[in-house]
């Protein structure tokens, strides 16, 4: 049926608000800060056929992948075996969960007159679901069995009542049952509210009008995505990146994992083809297929309709091809703990591929990895064991008319916040000695890449341990585009009290001694356009502001600065730039 445009808009806003209410209820009731501070979750309303109807932004790499969890539920439990008042839970990376074990999915069907007419869904990170060490993030597992307790879709509530068997199973398999079960209860409350909100709409506007509106909303999502695609010239666009691999630097499990993609834009359709991507890794850098699709959808969204709400229709013009048994579609029981690492690069790579077609919508590469790090030990001030889990923020690439953004969290993360220095010094037995932008990390360009940052922690009064996993260092530093240069890649340096200095990309459980200094140094973004075309006055300002050194001004940008008056030496600059162009040309 056709719904009038007014009722349609009212219902659209109600459904978007309903998916927001799932988030609000969970935030209100959740136990652990990882849910409400790191915003490591996503929530959505779906129709009975598992099409995404409305979504509330959370972690962007979770975009639109709850669809697959609903499908797994139908396949595993059977549609006919679902009853009003049931709530489903799953976390299996190969059945319903599709990320890694700590991520829990909770789903609640909306029954109206005895039939399912939609779903409320939530995916969120819990603190611990078992596995070899606490936390679920491992650089060197080789099978999913090592990574935690797995649940395929199961009924955690049955016909309006908690299924205590499942609660007991989870309690027995997590190291922190109070917090994990508390978070799961919050998620259940969230999806039950979302499901009820959908029923409220059906009750108020009628089933036929509601379903008609949902169909129309998806149709409009499709139309808007096609309209955006029609503004991208037809063609085939390719890009690839080589990841550094998993395991530790001193015991690698894989090396040079190839991420390859080919984007075909044909009228109002886009195909993203990952053929040629490396076979699955023996280590945990494997991304289950639905999460790879999610990453491709993320790239598609930022290229087409970044400011519009998402629904299944928005992704109808997108087709994704993923080779079987690759790191982007691994076969059971490949390990998946580091599933976000490969796909953090996918949306970035998609921007790189389409750059020739839409030069004003893209930027140079970003620093490329969330740089997850963990420091842990016993706080000498309290005698309590502590674990600090963080990501680090780095630079984004230059744009067609301005420099790149400095020090933002990676594309895998969204509205995530760093830990303030003043908070860190209270919470952890460290002294933060520096938190600054790191000079010369931004890739030179007509528009420079944003700077990476440097954050230095000195361990005080105790010995500690550290795990860090950083990719995009050796093989694919942050790339420049249209003649822009690479940004400097990320690295972790350890300065020992005895004067020793070490560099690490990936390392597990590295001992830190009292007084050692750990310096997390994130990469900068890649440049946009040739640095020889950068306005010399902007180069001068960068030197005055110490974003770049005078040496970089001369060597990368061909700009000679007269000191101490701090002026551009026009003549010398012109001469130097001509020489540099000539030598590049030759």
């Amino acid at each position: 049926m056709t719904v009038d445009p007014i009722t349609l808009e009212v219902i659209r806003n109600r459904l978007i608000a309903a998916s927001g209410d799932i988030r609000r209820v969970v935030e209100r009731a959740a136990y652990s800060p990882v849910l409400y501070e790191v915003i490591d979750f996503s929530c959505a309303l779906l129709d009975a056929e598992a099409n995404l109807v409305a979504e509330t932004p959370g972690l962007p790499i979770f975009l639109a992948n709850l669809t697959y969890s609903v499908r797994s539920t139908y396949e595993t439990i059977g549609r006919d075996n679902l009853k009003p008042g049931d709530v489903i839970l799953c976390n299996d990376p190969y059945n319903g969960g599709f990320t890694h074990c700590p991520d829990i999915v909770v789903l609640c069907p909306a029954f109206y007159e005895g039939e399912i007419h939609g779903w409320a869904a939530f995916r969120g990170h819990t603190v611990d679901m078992g596995g070899i060490y606490p936390g679920g993030w491992y650089a060197n597992t080789t099978e999913v069995f090592q990574e935690g307790f797995r649940l395929p879709p199961v009924k955690i509530w049955m016909e309006g009542n908690p299924n205590e068997d499942v609660f007991r199973l989870i309690r027995a398999n997590t190291r922190v049952p109070v917090s994990v079960l508390g978070d799961i209860r919050a998620m259940i409350a969230g999806v039950r509210t979302g499901s009820q909100r959908l029923l409220d709409v059906i009750e108020k506007y009628g089933l036929e009008t509601t379903l008609g509106s949902i169909a129309e909303i998806l149709e409009q999502g499709d139309t808007l995505a096609r309209a955006a695609l029609s503004r991208i010239p037809n063609g085939t666009y390719s890009a690839q990146a080589v990841l550094d691999g998993d395991g530790n630097d001193d015991a690698p499990l894989s090396q040079k994992l190839l991420l390859k993609l080919k984007i075909t834009v044909e009228d109002e359709k886009m195909i993203v083809d990952f053929t040629g991507t490396s076979p699955q890794s023996i280590g945990p850098m494997n991304t289950p297929e639905p999460s790879t699709i999610s990453a491709a959808r993320y790239g598609f969204k930022i290229i087409t309709t970044p400011y519009l709400p998402s629904n299944e229709g928005s992704f109808r013009p997108l087709e994704v091809i993923i080779p079987e048994g690759s790191i982007l579609k691994p076969n059971f029981p490949a390990a998946t703990a580091m599933w976000p690492t490969p796909i953090t690069t996918i949306p970035d790579l998609m921007l790189r591929a389409v750059a020739p077609a839409v030069p004003e919508q893209v930027r140079g590469g970003h620093f490329g990895d969330s740089m997850a790090d963990f420091i842990y030990g016993t706080d000498p001030r309290t005698g309590q064991y502590y674990v600090c889990a963080e990501g680090d923020a780095g630079g984004y690439g230059g744009q067609h008319n301005r420099d790149g953004a400095p020090a933002l969290f990676s594309m895998a993360l969204g509205d995530t916040y760093n830990v303030p220095v003043e908070v860190a010094e209270i919470r952890y037995p460290w002294l933060v000695e520096r938190f600054e932008l790191n000079q010369d990390t931004g890739g030179p360009g007509k528009y420079r890449g944003g700077l990476g940052a440097r954050r230095d922690y000195r361990v005080i009064g105790h010995d500690a341990g550290m795990t860090v996993t950083t990719d995009r260092v050796l093989n694919t530093p942050p790339w420049g585009i249209f003649g822009g240069k690479e940004g400097r890649p990320s690295i972790t340096r350890v300065y020992r009290t005895d004067g020793g200095e070490e560099e690490w990309r990936k390392v597990s459980n590295l001992p830190l001694k009292d007084g050692d200094l750990v310096s997390f140094q994130t990469g900068g973004g890649g440049g946009y356009g040739s640095p020889l075309e950068r306005d010399p006055e902007m180069v001068l300002q960068d030197v005055i502001n110490e974003y770049i050194s005078a040496a970089s001004a001369r060597d990368d940008y061909g700009v000679v600065i007269k000191e101490p008056e701090m002026q551009v030496d026009q003549e010398a600059t012109q001469k130097l730039r001509e020489e540099m162009k000539a030598s590049q040309g030759g």
């Binding site: 930022i302 969204g414 220095v421 003043e422």
Partner: protein, 677 residues
Amino acid sequence: MYRLSTDVGGTFTDGVLLDESTGQIRLSKVLSTPANPAIGTIECIERFDVSLEEVSFLAHGTTVVINALIEGTGAKTALITTEGFRDILEIGRSNRLEMYDALYRKPDPLVPRHLRFGIKERLSAAGEVLVPLEVGNLDQIIADMKRHQVEAVAVCLLNAYSNPEHEDKIGKLLQERYPEVTYSLSHLITRRYYEYERTSTTVQNAYVTPLVGSYLRHLEEELAKRSFENVLQIMQSNGGIMTSTVARNMPIAMVESGPAAGAIGASQLAGLIGYENVIAYDMGGTTAKTAIITGGMPETTDTYAVFERPILLPVTDLREIGAGGGSIAWIDEAGALHVGPQSAGAAPGPACYKGGGTEPTVTDADLHLGFLNPDYFLGGEMDIAPELAQEAVGKIASYYDISVDEAALGIIRIVNSNMSALLQSISVKRGYDPREFALVAFGGAGPIHAAAIAQEMNIPTVIVPLNSGVFSAWGMLMADLRHDFALTHIQAVDEAEVGQINAMFKDLESRLREIFKQENVPDEDIVVTYEMDLRYLGQEHSLTVAVPGNFTEADKATAGQAFDDLHYSVYGHNAPEESKVMVSLKAIGIGKVKKPELQAIPKGGSTPASDAEIGRRRVYRGEGQYEEFSVFRRDKLLAENVIHGPAVVEETTATTVVESDQVCNVDQYGNLVINRK
């Protein structure tokens, strides 16, 4: 004697004059003068034509701070901070607010990197001096600042919240060696941790200090010329007022002054007529703002920001959406109809304003439907054109091939639905049930839509105050002086020494009293209350509970229990057995101001006088149905009059709609109280 208030808004500057001897209220409304809001303010005051000698109290709310922050017209500002941390201001919290925008960047910092100076010094979180302040560094910094002709300096050192010694020393040296700049020290603005937020607040304060200084000087000179002899009071974002002397050093505290005044007005009014829990609903030209008031006070938040730049001070917690009278109805590429957030603003304004606007707005739809009276807009002072409204709304109608009436009704339904969705989510987030609240509606467009929104949300009561179109200005007359001081001190409550807690409270209190002394508030009018931010061990988020200023051993348990209860009501669970940690101590100082008494209006019978009902209007209700609305003049209504919906009540600055299944009672003060039949 008179009491007077002026509220500068984006479009209009409103004034309210209260005659203390009779309780009578007069209003004035002039166009704002954004280039120098003082001009419009003086014009607004002159309209009353009273001698300012007879004005005993003058409160002023202004957009001068927010405009400077939005337009980037503040002073050339430098920042002095701890060596190694000068980029805190630029890095911020590293969050990507627009996560799907590939080209997202945060707004540039207000201080460029070469004017951000690191100085050698270091304090620990506990306030111990780890590296003494190297004063020698400062001479070089001052030389650099002079070379760059810096006009204002912000000083924010790491951990200075726990020990202000180094900041104080820098302040003293700046005063001696660089007297021509104004400077702001972070610990005088707030002594809470979170270095980025504190730095951002201090920088924004420094940035607007020179400008606000000259604005206030200009305004006070103009007032003095007109024989004003009393103290100019400035409305703050926290819902209180402060004297202009204090405002000169803390201008950032006035960033949201107008909207805060509306919330204060709503809470004061609700209290006077017996409602504890209300939702203030202020719908103006471009946005609709709401604030939740429980227990008689608007809630404040610490997470306010302008242009993503945080301000770590208590600001009245206002949620807004881009849905005002000027919000534009538009059709997207897929053919879907939306309303807002784009607004026709003051220029060109809604199509019916005849300012050249051709896009259909909410006001055009209200006019077309018959909710607004073309002959009585702003009491007949403004000439509006229904045919232009019809033409504009007609564009929507012809696109969908529906009647203009249907299109106009559709625009209103969408805007009301967006509003109720916002109210619902605020309530869900805080764990409130909207059915336990009354809606206080004001602003130019609030009372037209309030009744329908209340109906949709099952809110039982709508209150439309007298003079609802200038309600924020009225609210300023009801505000007390208020100052907030906070101090971060993290320690398990059980381990804390009562003596130390009381010493910290005493310190906060003495700072409050010092400020009140500058403001000439007599001791007997000062009320200080104390609060503690608590959390469970291991949690990051804290909640605020009230505690006595003379804190005893027994109060530890009382405060802990109050926290457990609050945690349950906010988050739906608690853990009484867990140890509690205090995060911040807060003192709130109120300097009581004598409030005007509400003036009762003459009493009438339940049936309004015959001259109150001025006609009937046919309004489209959907599905081809029209309904006759009775039209009343609000100034002819008497206390105890009862109006049965459907009805429209018109006044100079606003129009109230009473829906068919609602009944409206005029209370003893002339407020309209609308309930379900």
